[in-house]
Symmetry: C2
Subunit: 282 residues, 2 copies
């Protein structure tokens, strides 16, 4: 593995000789956030295995259009096996499944449809009515270096990405969450690695859980996350927005939007997450 | 099969003797819309097979919390086999997979997490900020009897449900689509069958494709649809809202909200659909 950038090295998959559709990989300690490995990193790694499985036949179905992942148990740093299966091979898109297994325990199961983002029949017909999140430029936003040292120590992932949060959505850091259910910010890779469809799979799950802006600190484990990649991103900073509109009974939907430097909505995702409410809050 | 209501009879699954986790069913001609069987009906049928697989052990995980379905080929009226598999059995939720196969061809593959909607740890803590769609009462809305007779003939499903569309979102029926990308209306079963979590899986895909409100008539085949069921619905009319914010390059995301008669957001879904633009429109 001689990839130039950390993200590519640390999501690399190696075809297992003699076992078609099986790939070996290694979950790097550097992507840990709290106890487990970040869910977006897992999605990117699973997505890379599927790009090999579905795009390896020369038809060019190497870009995730839609991927739906169910998180079954906490992923830990160390070896992981990706087993893939082609469900349908089509002219414009192909669909496959992937399972990540660690120490005999399944971590993640996903289904995904892949195609070629440059091969759209109606390329250029864009009637998107969503508008990009408004926030100050990156240099006026809040970097993760402002986080408490003990938090940084337990979440090495924060050194793997460059995240700059909109000051308007970090009130929770000083005990004043806005209550709106919105967290937004800028993302890029510190080593200059430019965004591509696989990096968007990481991006959709790289902000803090939006429940933090509702005044509920702590981890919000993902049950399910579906991401749609809608266009190949242009180089430069990505703008991310996390929001929730339906927080109820200890669960929330969390929507993510990823906008590229050209102002294009390049990825959307929604997840269902469990929220651990403080004792006595219910 | 002696179920009282059509929806239950026509999504019924029968365990195949001697083959655990395999269920036989029949796709009824009455749920055809155009050439194929409605995607929401398929989701409800797949969801019923998973309720048997995941909820049959007495732990009570019979309600879909999240289900993600990939549509692989057009489903036709006739026999269909559902093959299910348990991926993880947990204390509060269990996750499984289901495949619908017809004549040896896979129609749909889905992963889903099930639990007990009455068993939430934080039941009653509802901080939903979404607001229900505003529309006139059902009797002031537009029924499907207003549709052209040839359309009704090719889509018998419209007689299986009672759909009343908000007049503000049916401009497309008289050649004047609003261009906002919104279609909303009321839904109930004509035979008095009250809503439950499985019926919500039908509801999320029972309105016309929202592209029709952008002035693009015709079918919008679903690649992927994920539904979250967030609460057990109260009896009465359901309010549905379909909308899209990202229509680009011949694909669109379509979001559905389902609100119950008590004003609760009981289900949310998002799908990625392909839109066939008229020749020369791109």
């Amino acid at each position: 593995m001689h990839e130039k950038y950390g993200f590519d090295r640390e999501t690399a998959v190696t075809a297992r000789p003699g076992e078609p559709s099986v790939y070996d990989a290694d979950l790097h300690e550097g992507w840990r956030i709290g106890m487990g490995v970040n869910g977006g990193l897992l999605l990117a790694l699973a997505g890379r295995a599927l790009a090999e499985e579905l795009g390896g036949d020369g038809q060019g179905h190497r870009d995730p259009f839609s991927i739906s992942a169910y998180y079954l148990s906490t992923s830990l740093p160390g070896p992981v096996t990706a087993r893939t299966e082609t469900l349908r091979r089509g002219r414009t898109v192909s669909t496959g499944m992937v399972s990540l297994v660690q120490d005999g325990e399944e971590r993640l199961r996903a289904i995904a449809t892949y195609g070629d983002l440059d091969g759209h029949d109606h390329a250029g017909d864009v009637r998107t009515s969503a508008t990009p999140p408004q926030m100050p430029p990156p240099e006026q936003c809040v970097g993760t270096e402002a986080a408490p040292p003990e938090f940084l120590k337990s979440s090495p992932m924060l050194e793997r990405i460059e995240l700059r949060l909109d000051p308007d959505t970090v009130g929770w850091a000083v005990g004043a969450p806005s209550g709106r259910g919105i967290v937004q910010g800028w993302l890029r890779m510190p080593d200059g690695r430019e965004p591509d469809p696989l990096m968007l799979l990481l991006a959709v799950d790289s902000l803090p859980p939006v429940s933090i802006d509702l005044g509920i600190p702590g981890w919000a484990p993902t049950l399910e996350l579906t991401a749609h990649v809608r266009a190949r991103p242009e180089p430069g900073w990505l703008r991310l927005k996390h929001s929730t509109r339906n927080f109820a009974d200890g669960y929330m939907e969390e929507d993510a939007e990823v906008w590229d430097s050209a102002g294009r909505l390049v990825a959307q995702s929604r997840q269902l997450a469990r929220v651990r409410l403080p004792q006595g809050a219910a």
